[in-house]
Symmetry: none
């Protein structure tokens, strides 16, 4: 029968855990190490000493591990995932959210705090140096002028600054930008930044 364990060290107050999983048991790291096995669900607090090692051990034994943190950050999230944990959430998340996490990881999914997700995933691809032609493809759909405007805007410049840079009117910048939005199918400059920020701009030719 599958167990459901909460691993903690101090005497953390865990009303939400209790509420989310009434059938779960609270235990110490040592007990979890000894008892948990295949199919068991184990929640590990990130304030436990060597929680990473513990998570790695448990997940290696095919336990389903989620890490909970009072101070979630993307680095810790990545570490948790690297240690085999399949979930990473705030320790004080609502019972509904905890159950959602449980549902996801029980179905072979990964669950990470939504706010961290973008960074965890987003930075991955860049760091890997993966070549995505997304950028060049999208940019190649633009005219030279539109491209220049788009890149300047993506660098965080205001329309006014772009206008000065390219020595045109702010009005013209808006016109080009409108075309860029249409062609790249984005709503506003923020989405443009996010789209262009997905990849480092490798070799931008000044035109061709």
């Amino acid at each position: 029968m599958t167990q459901h364990l909460f691993v903690t060290q101090g005497n953390d107050d865990i009303p939400r855990w209790r509420e989310a999983f009434p059938q779960a048991r609270v235990c110490r790291p040592a007990q979890a190490r000894a008892q948990a096995g295949h199919g068991d669900h184990v929640w590990v607090m990130s304030n436990v000493d060597d929680w990473g090692v513990l998570a790695a051990n448990l997940s290696r034994r095919n336990a389903i591990v989620a890490v909970l943190s009072y101070t979630p950050d993307s680095e810790e999230a990545l570490q948790a995932l690297a240690c085999g944990a399949r979930g990473y959430a705030h320790a004080l998340a609502s019972p509904e959210m905890l159950r959602q996490v449980q549902l996801v990881i029980a179905n072979q999914g990964i669950w990470v705090l939504p706010e961290l997700m973008a960074k965890v995933v987003g930075s991955t691809f860049r760091a890997l140096g993966g070549e995505s032609r997304v950028q060049e493809e999208t940019l190649s759909a633009l005219t030279q002028r539109e491209r220049a405007v788009a890149l300047s805007v993506a660098a965080g410049n205001s329309n006014k600054v772009v206008a000065r840079e390219l020595d045109i009117t702010e009005r013209t910048v808006k016109a080009h930008l409108g075309a860029v939005f249409r062609k790249l199918q984005v709503r506003d400059r923020m989405q443009l930044i996010l789209m262009l920020s997905k990849q480092p701009i490798a070799a931008m030719d000044g035109g061709e």
Copy 2:
């Protein structure tokens, strides 16, 4: 009402999809681009032209995107995730598995082929190393609420959307955001996005 779309280009045979999601509709990329929006579930075949761009657009519109491939590999999986897809599976996966994927991603999880999972997660952590530590440090200067606002804004959301997300008024969002700007010493949300997505966008204008 949330739609359920399959995006494909050729006339792929999709008996398993049909079986898994009888209520789903098959459509072309253009249709998906036009119709899909918030909360919709969209399955994109990786043999579609510019599937990455499509996935990025859809996920940016808060659609729930999964990518299906006839020849899954970790590289493509990473690309899919980088484009905002939350699921990556084999196109010929069993209906049960497809439904599992759907269940997971509908609950804010991410689902990647188990065989690829280790590779994806592993390479992520290694590649990141200590790089994204800067952000954590800068973010740690913020209060919980400010951080939540900052991250949401950095994800490209408008103040209105952030307000809805956090269940506060738009005014409060502005207040927090003002504090964020002060603490991180940035002028506006554009600079914030650039800081948090820490991208070496060489601000080169294609200028002549």
